[in-house]
Symmetry: C2
Amino acid sequence: MSHEPYDIGPARPRLDALAKACGTELFSADSYPPGLLWAGARRCGVPHGILRGVDASAARALPGVHAVLTREDVPGSNRQGIVHKDMPVLCGTRVRHCGDPVALVVAESRDVLRKALALIHVDIEPRQALADMDAALAPDAPLIHESHGSNILLAAEIHKGNAEEALAQCDVILEETYFTPAQAHAFLETENGLARLDEDGILHLTVSTQAPFRDRFEIGHALGIEPWKIRVHSPFLGGGFGGKDGATVQCLLGLAALRLPGRTIKMWWDREESFLAGYKRHAARMHYRLGAMNDGTLRSLVCHLWYDTGAYAHLGGEIMELGMEHAAGPYRVDHMDCRGLCVYTNNPVAGAFRGFGVAQASLAFEGMMDRLADRLGRDRLDLRRQNALRRGDRNCAGVTLTSSVGLDECLRRVQGHELWTTRHAWKKDAPAFTRRGVGVAAVFNGMGYGRGLADNAIAKIELTPDGRFVIYSGVPDMGQGNASTFAQIAGEMLCQDAGRLEVIQPDTERSHPSGSASAGRTTYTFGQALIKACEMMTTKLVRRAALALMIDEPGGFTLVPGAVRHLPTGKELPLTVMGAMLPRDDRVCVAEYLMPVSREVPDTGKDFPLGFPHLIFPFAAHLVRVEIDELTGLVRVCDYLAATDGGRVLNPQNFHQQIEGAVAQGLGFALMEGFGTENARITTPDLSTYLIPTSLDLPDTQSVAVETLEHSGPFGMKGVGEVGMNGPLPAVASALSDALGAHIVRAPVTPAMILELLASRGAQA
Amino acid sequence: MSHEPYDIGPARPRLDALAKACGTELFSADSYPPGLLWAGARRCGVPHGILRGVDASAARALPGVHAVLTREDVPGSNRQGIVHKDMPVLCGTRVRHCGDPVALVVAESRDVLRKALALIHVDIEPRQALADMDAALAPDAPLIHESHGSNILLAAEIHKGNAEEALAQCDVILEETYFTPAQAHAFLETENGLARLDEDGILHLTVSTQAPFRDRFEIGHALGIEPWKIRVHSPFLGGGFGGKDGATVQCLLGLAALRLPGRTIKMWWDREESFLAGYKRHAARMHYRLGAMNDGTLRSLVCHLWYDTGAYAHLGGEIMELGMEHAAGPYRVDHMDCRGLCVYTNNPVAGAFRGFGVAQASLAFEGMMDRLADRLGRDRLDLRRQNALRRGDRNCAGVTLTSSVGLDECLRRVQGHELWTTRHAWKKDAPAFTRRGVGVAAVFNGMGYGRGLADNAIAKIELTPDGRFVIYSGVPDMGQGNASTFAQIAGEMLCQDAGRLEVIQPDTERSHPSGSASAGRTTYTFGQALIKACEMMTTKLVRRAALALMIDEPGGFTLVPGAVRHLPTGKELPLTVMGAMLPRDDRVCVAEYLMPVSREVPDTGKDFPLGFPHLIFPFAAHLVRVEIDELTGLVRVCDYLAATDGGRVLNPQNFHQQIEGAVAQGLGFALMEGFGTENARITTPDLSTYLIPTSLDLPDTQSVAVETLEHSGPFGMKGVGEVGMNGPLPAVASALSDALGAHIVRAPVTPAMILELLASRGAQA
């Protein structure tokens, strides 16, 4: 066993790397306990309609079918949803999108399941499909949720200063409308889980989920059982990105398990079902009017954002809020009017996705910055530096930035980088029939839940009887590496090597509620709780060692790998002895952390119900160099640079992996991933029609850490799970406009669009 | 269920009162699990000798005998002892007092056990019995413990100033020698317990013990098993007083259980065995030379203390140390030379006993004060007030009293009491053939373990799934009521009523090491730990409630009976819901407290190994009025007043009960309880020969609380378990000398001694 502490700062190999590389780490999808049954949902396949009946007689008669359940079999409220409980577990009278489930089948095998699902006959009277927000907002549009009384899920406003008046006084006023598409999370491991009702009436679930603790309440409410009679275990996830934040398989699995006590039920959506029934990024439309002075000072923004939440709310309102909170970008803008409408349609359900509403708005505010720079004849990067938020400024939502702000330093790093300084020469060197462009973007992303919803974590650490430390994580690891960082934090605090540290993935029975793995909050919030728990553990161990060594004051003790040492005498007590000696409850420390929230009351026209505003922001400046094939319209991303302020970096490897992954996903969003619908029916139902970038489509991203110190965070860090997603689209748009001389207002920028732009530019020229 | 919080201050009924009054509270002795076997020891019956052999063949042959074990059957070190491991579990080659065990029998029933014990033939070659300290200290005396190299267990010295020189300069020098006897604890529930070795190799014991956590180490060392393979449970004790602090039945029971795995073994000493084999108070001899000035100022004390520890050490050295630390009484004395000798003899083993060495010295230092007052023609109480320690003074051990000191106030209360102010008239009113006397005494008693041995407690409190609080006590309740006070402390801190509070008696598996129930430390040390645990619990519950109620700052919350309430909104979360909601480890809080120790290095000629000096002292002033029957020599205690400074009183009922019990035990010590030996053989083997006071022998003690504030203690308290024991003997001696005109130097003061004194006084007159 190595005796080098698994500490903070250097790049430490991830604790989960070997097991994942060898395939011994079991994901939820890898679990096939003996005797399991398979569950699957019959999806309605119709975007909007009245459900007249479900005929399951043929399916029920099929040998190997254990149960076919419909709405009448759901014992509870039948309602799911994180904030708005508007999504049925099984539809009874109404279907609102093609993926709505109308029956649940439990069968002996996957084959029988497929056959049984095909045998279910569903009788639906179709109604007008509201295929876009305009249709849904039309005065005579049918209501998708009658009880809600409107197709508007949330109408919200942010007012800062006097935007219209200030706009009128500006030297320059620019106006534009931007469009971003729905996007699929396209995680490796699609939605899945297992459930079993045990003899004590406890419902056990193992689910690929980002929010095991919240799941208990979702399931409990939907199925009418006490949340504490539900145990949810969340192993490592094969990706999440927001798509596993909220109920996917949970309630359906629970329902099946309640019906078949003692049996283990597995449900695993294939890619097509994941695309059909899973959550998507909200498609958005954004209308911007930006006013500035001739010297480049931003002065006023009036904007209107529309987010298409599809058939159900999920976190639609909160996602739009976050877009609005970031609407003016990471810049000083004294006046802003921002109005938002989050609209129900019959499109697939939109929900949480890395970049959470901000990835959309980033195209708009950065597009406006490019236009302004071009209009004023200014260097695009320079104009951004001039207006960049600094510590102490108030952002466009009215929040005074007392947390760390490293944006200008991010921009300065990009400005000094040779990818930027050599851009003119590089562009001139473009081969024949090739255009080159260099783009930049400055982005940010509020971290954590924001005000109104406690962003809290409870960490538990145990000294085992054999002298190791086990960290009970309360927040899942979707692959981003937080579990390993938790071990590093404990290793740092307790001065122990990796061999003595183990992280248990969330399990509502063993670990403690710590919110969801989302919002860039995971390591920040749980890490702070864990630091406190480790401090408690250290104090405890020192005091217990002092007792055992008959030293009556605890000064002079320290933890060393494998032992507690009394420095003045050199006496040591091995952790193995302490572990054996201490009673169970004295080997466990539990500590909590609550993220600070802004106590300013922003000047909003309308209070948001939850999650507004944010206090702490990671920042980033992205640079991209692209090459356009004038003959095919294909865009090649040649170079990518991301300078990110995530506070202090705990493990450079994990940090850069996060950035690289987000950039890849962002480049897909910019250039390839338009999740298509036509009349509310999906036109990209699988990975042959919905393309995501492969490693061949991507450059080696250069990631630069700009290490500010975020005092409130663990060892000075901020979360970088989200911010990297927001840069690629505006940076690519900027590079393309640099290459084409035409501004990009719509994503993804497909070869067809490029060819069209080239043609119109050619016509102009 | 009452909704009145079970809080601190008012007299609250003891939580254990009803169950004890109804007989439903099960003591260790009450436990008769099915299939139990009985164990008993064959005692040698010889004060000193060489063990030639043990013939157990007849006993082994007796039907119903499961095992007869001798020294060879003991797998470990065979040594017991808290500090000095000098006491064998079973003697092999040597016996050192009549109670030494030479064989252990396990039998089907108590009857068979008795018969089998009688059938064991023990072959002992007698050696000279060292029946008193002088014999043991004689140059040619045989060594009781050869490996120790001397019959002196501990020789110790305390030097403060320059005592001999100062003495020579005094106006008055007084000299006297005092004697106090051994005393039996005479608890209701004699030593007993049960043991069983389970299938996992865990040795389970239920024992009437004051130190369950230390017991594990005693048993482990003696029997060669890991302490953490031993689980000790300590139910309520039917009295302890120090006599159950240290191994009694533990190792013998453990030995029997190891031999007979899976069987439950019970051992219960009857009164005679308890007198024979149990611990006693040390008999002591004390030679004092006290010097004072004519104005009454004490100036120098030179004294020599001898403590007879009997055959084994137990805590003999530490007990003598405490006597020495208190040798000059609670007075300012600038110079002191105190030498102590703790001596091995072949008498019954002496050990811890309420008053722990100080009950002996109190006779001497208070006797000297009376003599000095008489010599100077001063009022006895007045002289004590003149010299009484005050906060900021250094005591005779050289410790600066920064803790609370209420002695003068105790004396003032006595001085103003009508039992004192009317004393002259009362004495004059004595009937014929009756003499009356009024005595006072001022005493103190160091609290806790003192320096060198961490005086620590670890409290655990749990919110149960059904919304109650369970306190896991780490220190036994011998009857003094600490368990109930723990509930009160938790009730106070958590604002809960008695119905929601439960105290679990110590169990090394469920509660945490908190030292022994002794040294007046129990409520002080564990109470402080419990307060911290309750603070943690409150913080935790408030934060969890804030989460559940979606309130993102924990301000404004409070606990109310049965719930957590958010005061600004009036929202409540019932504890039943919180209990159901929280995971196991989040319902438990563990906190530690370490008693402060003096950091002064006293000017001692020789460092004590452990437990010296003390920092915190309860004080008391006692007054007694006695009546002497001149014809019979019988002394009647007419009135008793105890003014006690124990810091703030947590529950007046418990406080006064402690004082009343100690006064009763002290009056027995003063007037009746001489534990007799003749040539090291007990002459008072049972309660017909060893008399203790009954309620008819005792007055109604008036107990007055002098409530200083001890800042370091829980809600300002100090422990009063010991101090009350120290007053009655010197107060009675003072009253008798007041009545007789002759000073008392020996206890107990029997009618024969009184008649003798009357006769000699009569002769003088």
